[in-house]
């Protein structure tokens, strides 16, 4: 059961500021999602090994070669704020 406290914790980790109404709303929504996912617990997984990946792929890699870089104006095109060629962001301590 997701409580208001859980929502506040997750919001802090994501650096989101939520109003009291929003906290109520997200607690309700998150509970609904978890309830839906609860269906998985009805399956018998006794003989199924835990897995991190579902694709039948392994060892996909590239050779160590340097490619093209993005031009600075494109790098910074979506930045809300810049200074010189830097991204400018609120400090996070």
């Amino acid at each position: 059961m997701i409580t208001i406290k859980d929502v506040e914790h997750v919001a802090l980790l994501a650096r989101l500021e939520l109003s009291d109404e929003e906290k109520q709303m997200y607690a309700k929504q998150l509970n609904a999602i978890l309830e839906y996912a609860q269906m998985l617990n009805e399956l018998n997984t006794d003989d199924i090994p835990p897995t991190a990946h579902v694709l039948p792929l392994k060892n996909v890699w590239r050779e160590d070669e340097v490619g093209e870089h993005l031009p600075p104006e494109e790098v910074l095109a979506n930045a809300p704020e810049t200074e010189g060629q830097f991204f400018k962001v609120p400090r996070i301590v």
Partner: protein, 481 residues
């Protein structure tokens, strides 16, 4: 009063010197204008897919084998979620529960004894970008971000809590650096940040089997800083406990100028990284034959090389340890002894004048202008009697400054040793004539007067007179008068 035991474990990050980044083809080159070594992948733009650089895996396996680790058969990447802007994705791709390697060790020398320090695990991850602040992060109104370093490949090497003093921690880090450098997978330059070290420190009453509460120390940018920071932190913790207080589990930063560790993050913001498997990177199933191929290409490592120096060149253990501390130093030594067989003489010059000058100029041996051939040519000039040991020091300093051949310096500066008996005899006569009082003192039994007379002859010949000849001729003249 309770006696305390110190417990230290180190987490070391090493940048691998591949050409391109770990998950994209951007260059790993150090420096560059801000945000020029970036592409959509390392900028974390929507819709991109990371692909592992095979060289990173090879280098990580190479380092892990050199550190006596077991290489995992199955390994995967995970997302470590956090909210610092030094990574644009809000997570770092790292490895959590299935790291590449485990159960390694390295040996350090403590008071002439060999001690084994365990290595818990080694995993691969991406480096973060650089945050730039006006003043310190605490006073700056905002952060400027440069993502050039974002995605540079790292391995994190986590030790067991096996170290019992700041000196042991330093010895461990020095040995780790030497081994990694020997394998050629990293430059391990602490000053450029390609080798970084965090420490976990706790103390406990001697005899206790439980660990005390630990703190994590960051921002130690040199071997000396590591040792100083740990010594400070151990003392701080003991003082807190002796006053009846308790240690707070926290991250502290080393302030080099003030010489203290300070709290960095409060407990309320304790880490909650919510690791989960990185869905964009498929798992690694590591081929045993490949691992053995990599093992077969490992070079001779510092311990083996040190032991060989003791056996083959008959060097003292101390010399052998210092000479093999970096691969470059050891290579230089071997080039020298290939040209000149007196290994102890080579060792003396390398550990003496050469190291002294390198330290004074804050250089390492790769930047040294004196080639092994030039150093050994100088030793040969000494053997031939062309220059004395004293003059050699002058010649060497000139070689170090200019990179010129020793013969040329001797010629240009007129430093050839005077071995002509007649010439020295003439100077001796002059000195004796000009110091009648001293001669009298000597003849009355004042031995110190002799040293003064030798000094005068050397001064008159600008240090070039052959010292044995000066001694003999002075004695002859004094006793015949």
């Amino acid at each position: 009063m309770t006696e305390y035991e110190t417990i230290i474990g180190l987490e070391v990050h090493v940048e691998l010197k591949t050409k391109s980044k770990i998950f994209c083809p951007s260059t790993t080159e150090f420096g560059g204008d801000p945000n020029t070594h970036v592409c959509p992948v390392c900028l974390g733009l929507p819709g991109v897919l990371p692909v592992l650089n095979k060289k990173v895996l090879e280098y990580a396996i190479r380092a892990a084998l050199a550190l006596n680790c077991e290489i995992a058969e199955y390994s995967k990447f995970d997302r470590k979620n956090y909210y610092y802007p030094d990574l644009p994705k809000n997570y770092q791709i790292s490895q959590y529960d299935l790291p590449l390697a485990r159960n390694g060790f390295l040996n350090i020398e403590v008071n002439g004894q060999t001690k084994r320090i365990g290595i818990t695990r080694i995993h691969m991850e991406e480096d973060a970008g650089k945050l730039i602040h006006q003043g310190t992060i605490a006073t700056s109104p905002y952060s400027l971000v440069d993502y050039n370093r974002t995605g540079v490949p790292l391995i994190e090497i986590v030790s067991e809590p096996d170290m019992r003093s700041p000196e042991e921690a330093r010895a461990y880090l020095e040995k780790l650096k030497a081994i990694i450098q020997y394998t050629g997978v990293s430059d391990c330059k602490m000053e450029e940040g390609s080798l970084r070290c965090d420490a976990n420190v706790s103390v406990r009453p001697r005899g206790s089997r439980e660990f005390g509460t630990k703190t994590e120390i960051k921002n130690m940018n040199s071997f000396k800083a590591l040792q100083r920071a740990l010594a400070y932190e151990v003392e701080r913790q003991i003082a807190v406990l002796q006053e009846g207080g308790r240690i707070v589990q926290e991250t502290r930063t080393w302030d080099e100028n003030k010489g203290v560790t300070l709290p960095m993050r409060s407990k309320e913001e304790a880490h909650d990284y919510r690791y989960f498997p990185e869905p964009d990177l498929v798992p690694l199933v590591i081929d045993r034959r490949w691992v053995e191929e990599i093992r077969a290409t490992l070079p001779e490592l510092p311990d083996e090389r040190r032991n060989r120096y003791i056996k083959r060149y008959d060097l003292p253990a101390y010399d052998a340890t210092v000479l093999t501390a970096t691969k470059e130093m050891a290579d230089y030594f071997e080039e020298c002894v290939a040209l000149y067989p007196n290994a102890k003489a080579v060792s003396n010059w390398m550990m003496g004048d050469l190291s002294r000058l390198l330290n004074a100029h804050n250089m390492d041996i790769t930047q040294c202008k004196v080639s092994p051939r030039q150093l050994t040519d100088m030793l040969k000039l000494m053997d031939k009697g062309t220059i004395s040991g004293k003059i050699a020091k002058t010649v060497f300093e000139e070689m170090f400054a200019t990179g010129k051949d020793p013969e040329q310096i001797v010629q240009e500066k007129g430093l050839v040793q005077i071995t002509d008996e007649g010439a020295i005899a003439a100077v001796v006569e002059e000195v004796l004539a000009g110091n009648a009082k001293v001669v009298e003192d000597y003849l009355k039994g004042k031995d110190r007067a002799f040293g003064f007379l030798v000094g005068q002859v050397m001064k008159a010949t600008r240090g070039k007179a052959n010292p044995e000849l000066v001694n003999r001729l002075l004695k002859e003249k004094l006793h015949s008068s």
